[in-house]
C-alpha cells in the first residue's frame, strides 16, 4: 500500500515535542513499525512528530548503578557502543542480531518498546534485566518497569501525551548473561535470556516471542531453572512458525541452550 499523506514535525526540544503530541499527532522515530502500520492502513495519523532531533532522547551513559540509554538510540549503534560492550555485553550481542539490517539501522530502542511487538528480542532481555523506562508528559515524569510497560501484544501502557525518554538498566558487577533465540521465519519463535549475578545470588530468566508478552522470573540458583517447567509456564501463540505444542517444546530446548551458553560466559 501507499503511505497516506501526513505532516512531519521536527521538534528540537522535549517540551516542544510534548506540545505537538495529540491523538492524531504521534511520536515517530525509526518508523520501522509505525510506517508499516500506516502502509497497511491500520493507523492514519495527521502528523508524525520526529523525536530524533531531541538531545534528551539520545546517548548512552552509566551512573548511579544504572546504564541509561536514550530512547532514540538505534539498535545498530547500541550493538557496537563501547560502554554497552564493556558493561552489558549480552545486551550488545542481542542488539546485533535483532530484526534485519534495515531494522537495526533505522529502528530505535524506545520505538521498539512503545510498539510492544510481541516478538521483540529487546523487551525480553530488558525484562530479565529488571530494566525500567522514563516517561515524560506535560504533567511530569514517571518511571515504570518494562514489565509494567509491556502489558499486551502491541500494547504499551503509555498515555498518548507521554514520550518515552530513556531506558534504565541496573548494572551489576560480574553479571553473566546469555540471550539465544530460535528463529526460522522473519521474527523469532522464542527468545530466552538468562542472567546470573553469582555474588549476589541473583538469577533471572526471560522468555519472549513465544507468547503475547515476554515473561521473566527470578531464581535462587541456576539449578532451580527447570526447562520443562518453564515451557509449561509460557502461553504460546500458535502461528505459521509452529503450533502451541511445538512452541512449548522448543521453549524447553532453548531454555536448555541458553543455560548451556551461559556456562561458557565468564563474568
Amino acid at each position: 500500500m501507499t503511505l497516506p499523506p501526513f505532516a512531519l514535525v521536527r521538534p528540537t526540544t522535549l517540551d516542544e515535542a510534548l506540545r505537538e503530541l495529540t491523538e492524531d499527532s504521534v511520536p515517530y522515530c525509526g518508523g520501522t513499525e509505525l510506517l508499516l502500520a500506516m502502509r497497511a492502513g491500520l493507523h492514519r495519523p495527521d502528523a508524525l512528530v520526529d523525536l530524533k532531533r531531541i538531545p534528551e532522547l539520545t546517548g548512552v551513559r552509566a551512573g548511579d548503578g544504572m546504564l541509561v540509554i536514550g530512547a532514540a538510540e538505534r539498535h545498530a549503534d547500541l550493538a557496537t557502543h563501547p560502554l554497552i560492550l564493556e558493561r552489558l555485553p549480552v545486551f550488545a550481542r542481542m542488539e546485533k542480531h535483532i530484526g534485519n539490517a534495515r531494522v537495526r539501522n533505522q529502528g530505535s530502542i524506545g520505538g521498539n518498546l512503545c510498539f510492544a511487538e510481541p516478538k521483540s528480542d529487546v523487551a525480553t532481555l530488558l525484562m530479565a534485566l529488571e530494566a525500567s523506562v522514563t516517561l515524560v508528559s506535560p504533567g511530569g515524569r514517571r518511571t515504570v518497569t518494562v514489565e509494567e510497560l509491556i502489558v499486551g501484544p502491541y500494547y504499551a501502557e503509555k498515555e498518548p501525551d507521554e514520550i518515552l525518554v530513556d531506558v534504565r538498566i541496573p548494572l551489576r558487577d560480574g553479571l553473566r548473561g546469555a540471550y539465544v533465540k530460535f528463529q526460522t521465519m522473519e521474527r523469532p519463535t522464542v527468545g530466552v535470556a538468562v542472567l546470573a549475578d553469582d555474588a549476589a545470588g541473583w538469577y533471572r530468566l526471560g522468555v519472549g516471542a513465544v507468547g503475547e508478552v515476554p515473561l521473566a522470573w527470578s531464581f535462587g540458583s541456576l539449578a532451580e531453572i527447570d526447562p520443562d517447567d518453564i515451557a509449561s509456564r509460557v502461553d504460546p501463540t500458535p502461528d505459521l512458525a509452529g503450533s502451541e505444542e511445538y512452541k512449548r517444546h522448543v521453549t524447553a530446548v532453548y531454555v536448555r541452550r541458553a543455560l548451556a551458553k551461559l556456562e561458557q560466559v565468564s563474568s
Binding site: 501507499t2 497516506p4 526460522t184 505459521l240 511445538y246 530446548v253
Partner: protein
C-alpha cells in the same frame, strides 16, 4: 569447435544498470496525462454481487471514474489463453477472495486508494469450495456454472498424445481440465511385480516470488491500444487484448521493459486487461501497480495431491507406474490445464516405463487462480515419482543410485512414444551428482543424502522469429520478441549474433519484447530462448550475410557465389575485403541505409520433432537435521546443467543456483496457507522464501557439455530443470536422515520434528 564469443562467460550488459538502479522497469514508465488505478477486490471467497454503489467513491477528491463489469459489458470481457473463463471484472459473482470487482481511476495513487474504501459492494454469500477435495465432493457448489470456449492454443492442441476429457463440461462440475495418458498393460504388470510401492504426496500451494509485482500502464486512444507491462509473453498478451477489444493485432502494442523476475508467474495475461479497460472507459492512460499481496492473489502455483504406485521386478527394474494427480487450480483456469498436461508427462521420470497410466484433474476452487510456475508441473509430478522410486529402492534393498542406474533411459530412447528421443546422457549426469555428494558426505548423526532426476519436454511450441539490422558503421541491432526477465537472454543473443557475424560483442545491441517493433516470439518460457530464438537468430545472421554477399558482388563486380564471408566483412575473389559498414554505405550510396536479415523458425527440419529438446533436471542434496527442533540445514547442493553447450557458462550457473534455491524454498519453507476464505500469509514477511543464510554449505554447480542439443552450437535450454527434482531429493535426504518418509512439502521444522516424534 573454434567459436570465439559463445562459450565465454561474458559480463551481462545489463549488470551495472541493474545494480545501480538505473535500469528501467515497467513501474518506472509513465505516459502523458496518466491517471492511476487501484482495484476494489472481493473480501469473500464466493458470493453473488447484489449491487455496487460507486456514488461516494466518484464524489471523492481526485476520482476520475469507477469501472465495474457493467461498464465493459460490450467488450469480450474475459481472457484466458486456453479457456477464456477469466472475467476482467467479476460480473455477477466473485469466485475468490481478492478477485477484482471494480477499478477506481484517480489523479493520484493515494486518491485512488482512498476511494477504493468508498466503493460499496453488497454481496450474498454462497457456499465456497476452499480445496480440491471439497470441490470434487458430490453436490459441491460450482465455481463456474457455465462452460467457456477453448481458444485453440496451438501448443496445447499439439500435446497430441493427450486425451482430453471429453464432455467434461457437459455436466457442470468443478473439473477445469482432465488429462490421461498411458500405455501397456498396467494391471497385468502390477500383478507380475515382485515389489509394488505406493504412496501419496502433497505439493504445497506456492507463490513464484518475483521481486517485482505485476504492473502495467495502458493507453487506449483512437482505436488503438498501447500497453507497457510486466508480461513475460507480450505477444500472448497482445492476442488476449485484441480479443477483448475486437481490435486488429496490428493496433495493439504490448511492450515489456526489463522484468523484475518472472519464474512463470508473469507468463500470459495478468493486469493488462484491468489497466486497458480503465483507459478505454476514461479515455486517459492508466497506470496500475499491484502490491505484493495483490500479486499473490493474482496468480499462485497449483498445489497438488498425487497418488503414485509403481511395480518392480526383484532387481529393481520398473514394470509399471500409475499416477493420480489432483491439482487445486483456483478460481480460474489460466494456464493450469497446460501445467496439468505437462505434469502427466513429467511425473514418471526419464525411466523406461513399459506400462503407464496417469490421470490428472485440474480443479476449480474458490481460491486465488493458479497458473504457470518454473518447471511447469514437473516439481509437482517429480515429488511423487522420485520419492516413490526412493521408497522402492529402500524396500528392494538397493541404493537410490542403483535403482536409477537400472532404469534411466539412454541417449536416443523415447520416454514419450513418438516424441523426440532423449537428447542427453542422463546416466552420466547421475554419476557426476552421486560422486560429488559422496565425496563430501559427513559422518554425523541425522545426516542424509538425496538426489533426483527429471526430464521435461521443453521449449514449448517452436515458433520463433528474429531480425538483425546491420548499420552503416558495422554495428548490429538484434531484434527479438523474447523477454529479458533476469535470465540473461539479452547478453546471450548478443553473443550469438557477434559469433555468427564475426563482429565485436560491444557493437551488438539487443532490442526485445515490443510487439510493434520486435519480431514475433511465441513465448519466453519453457527454457526456450537460447535454443529457439538462438536458432532463429542464427538464420537471421545467415540471411544478413547472404544479402551482404549479394550486395558486395555488385560492388566487386563478381558473382555472388564468389564472395567469401570474413569476420564482420566480406571478401572478393581477388582478396579485396569490405567490412559490413562499407558494403552498406557503398551499395546504397550517400552514406546511409541498413541491411536486415530475417530468421524464421517453425516445426520443420531439426525442430520438427516435439519437444524441441529435453530439459534434464539432475540434482543432489545432503541435509543435516537438528533433532531437537527439526530444523533442516542443507550441507550440500550439487547440480548438473545438461545444456549441450553453455553459450554463457556463468549465466548457466546463475540459472541453476537460482532454480535450486527456489526449489529449496518450496522443499523447506514456502507454502501459502489459507485460513478460511483468505490467505494467512499473503505477504513476503510471512511467506518465507530462502535467505542468504539458508544457502547450502557446499554448492557444486557442474555443466555437462556434450553438444547434443538442437540449438546453436549444440545448446539446449536451462533455467527450469534444476528446480524440478529438488523437492524429491530433499524429501529423500530427510527420510534417510530421520528414518521416516515425509509425505509433503515444505519440510518445516515442526513437520520434521513431528515426523521424528510421531508414534
Amino acid at each position: 569447435m573454434g567459436e570465439n564469443v559463445v562459450g565465454q562467460s561474458v559480463r551481462r550488459p545489463d549488470l551495472v544498470e541493474k545494480v545501480t538502479g538505473a535500469a528501467e522497469y515497467c513501474v518506472d514508465v509513465t505516459m502523458p496525462g496518466m491517471a492511476h488505478a487501484k482495484v476494489v477486490r472481493s473480501d469473500r471467497a464466493h458470493a453473488r454481487i447484489t449491487g455496487i454503489d460507486v456514488a461516494e467513491a466518484l464524489a471523492a477528491p481526485g476520482v476520475v471514474a469507477v469501472v465495474t463489469a457493467a461498464d465493459i459489458a460490450s467488450l469480450h470481457a474475459r481472457f484466458g489463453h486456453i479457456i477464456t473463463d477469466h472475467w476482467i471484472l467479476a460480473p455477477d459473482k466473485v469466485r475468490y477472495y481478492g478477485e477484482p470487482v471494480a477499478v477506481v481511476v484517480a489523479e493520484t495513487v493515494a486518491a485512488a486508494a482512498d476511494a477504493v474504501e468508498l466503493v460499496r459492494v453488497s454481496y450474498e454469500d454462497l457456499p465456497a469450495v476452499m480445496d480440491a477435495e471439497a470441490a470434487l465432493a458430490d453436490g459441491a457448489p460450482l465455481v463456474h456454472e457455465q462452460a467457456y470456449e477453448a481458444t485453440g492454443d496451438e501448443s496445447f492442441k499439439n500435446l497430441s498424445h493427450v486425451d482430453e476429457g471429453d464432455g467434461a463440461q457437459q455436466v457442470p462440475s468443478n473439473v477445469a481440465h482432465e488429462v490421461t495418458i498411458g500405455w501397456g498393460e498396467v494391471d497385468a504388470a502390477f500383478a507380475d511385480s515382485a515389489v509394488v510401492v505406493e504412496n501419496t504426496v502433497h505439493f504445497p500451494m506456492l507463490y513464484a516470488y518475483a521481486m517485482e509485482p505485476y504492473n502495467a500502464v495502458a493507453s487506449y486512444a483512437e482505436g488503438a491500444l498501447s500497453v507497457v507491462s510486466t508480461a513475460q509473453h507480450p505477444y500472448m498478451v497482445r492476442d488476449d487484448l485484441a480479443r477483448v477489444f475486437d481490435l486488429p493485432l496490428s493496433r495493439v502494442r504490448v511492450t515489456s521493459p526489463y522484468l523484475g523476475g518472472g519464474y512463470g508467474s508473469k507468463s500470459y495475461t495478468k493486469v493488462e486487461p484491468l489497466a486497458s479497460v480503465a483507459s478505454w472507459v476514461t479515455g486517459r492512460p492508466v497506470k496500475l501497480t499491484l502490491t505484493v499481496e495483490e500479486a499473490i492473489y493474482t496468480t499462485r502455483v497449483d498445489s497438488a495431491k498425487i497418488w503414485v504406485k509403481s511395480g518392480f521386478a526383484a532387481d529393481g527394474t520398473i514394470l509399471a507406474r500409475e499416477f493420480d494427480v489432483v491439482m487445486d487450480s483456483g478460481a480460474y483456469a489460466d494456464n493450469s490445464p497446460l501445467v496439468m498436461a505437462k505434469t502427466v508427462n513429467r511425473c514418471f521420470g526419464p525411466y523406461r516405463v513399459p506400462n503407464l497410466r496417469v490421470r490428472g484433474l485440474s480443479v476449480y476452487t474458490n481460491t486465488s487462480p493458479a497458473s504457470s510456475y518454473r518447471g511447469f508441473g514437473a516439481p509437482q509430478g517429480a515429488l511423487a515419482g522420485e520419492t516413490n522410486l526412493d521408497r522402492a529402492a529402500e524396500q528392494l534393498g538397493i541404493s537410490g543410485a542403483d535403482i536409477r542406474r537400472r532404469n534411466l533411459v539412454r541417449k536416443g530412447e523415447e520416454i514419450l512414444p513418438g516424441k523426440r528421443g532423449i537428447d542427453a546422457d542422463i546416466p552420466a549426469d547421475l554419476e557426476m551428482v552421486v560422486e560429488s555428494l559422496e565425496r563430501d558426505r559427513k559422518d554425523v548423526p541425522y545426516y542424509g543424502i538425496g538426489f533426483g532426476c527429471t526430464a521435461s519436454d521443453a521449449g514449448a511450441y517452436p515458433i520463433s522469429t528474429a531480425q538483425v539490422r546491420i548499420q552503416i558503421d558495422g554495428s548490429v541491432l538484434v531484434l527479438s520478441g523474447s523477454t529479458e526477465m533476469g535470465q540473461g537472454s539479452r547478453s546471450l543473443l548478443a553473443q550469438v549474433a557477434a559469433e555468427e557475424l564475426g563482429v565485436d560483442l560491444a557493437v551488438v545491441k539487443v532490442v526485445q519484447s515490443d510487439t510493434s517493433v520486435t519480431p514475433y516470439e511465441r513465448t519466453t518460457g519453457a527454457s526456450r530462448t537460447s535454443t529457439l530464438v538462438g536458432l532463429a537468430l542464427q538464420r537471421a545472421c545467415a540471411d544478413a550475410r547472404s544479402r551482404m554477399r549479394d550486395m558486395a558482388a555488385e560492388l566487386f563486380e563478381c558473382a555472388p557465389g564468389e564472395v567469401r564471408d570474413r569476420p564482420g566483412a566480406v571478401a572478393a575473389p581477388d582478396g579485396r575485403e569490405l567490412d559490413f559498414g562499407s558494403v552498406v554505405r557503398q551499395w546504397f550510396g550517400g552514406s546511409a541505409g541498413e541491411v536486415t536479415g530475417v530468421g524464421l523458425l517453425r516445426r520443420d527440419g531439426a525442430t520438427q520433432k516435439m519437444p524441441p529438446f529435453w530439459e534434464v533436471g539432475m540434482v543432489g542434496v545432503a541435509v543435516e537435521i537438528d533433532p531437537e527442533t527439526g530444523v533442516v540445514a542443507v550441507d550440500q547442493l550439487v547440480t548438473v546443467a545438461d545444456v549441450g553447450f553453455a553459450i554463457n557458462p556463468r549465466a548457466v550457473e546463475g540459472q541453476d543456483l537460482g532454480a535450486a534455491t527456489q526449489g529449496l524454498g518450496m522443499a523447506l519453507h514456502e507454502e501459502l496457507v489459507y485460513d478460511g476464505p483468505q490467505l494467512a500469509n499473503a505477504n513476503v514477511v510471512d511467506y518465507r522464501v530462502p535467505r542468504t543464510t539458508d544457502l547450502p554449505r557446499k554448492i557444486d554447480l557442474m555443466i555437462a557439455e556434450r553438444r547434443d542439443g538442437v540449438g546453436p552450437y549444440g545448446a539446449k535450454g536451462a533455467g527450469e530443470g534444476t528446480l524440478n527434482p529438488i523437492g524429491g531429493a530433499v524429501a529423500a535426504a530427510v527420510a534417510r536422515a530421520v528414518g521416516r518418509w515425509p509425505d509433503r512439502l515444505p519440510l518445516t521444522p515442526e513437520r520434521v520434528w513431528r515426523l521424528m516424534n510421531r508414534d
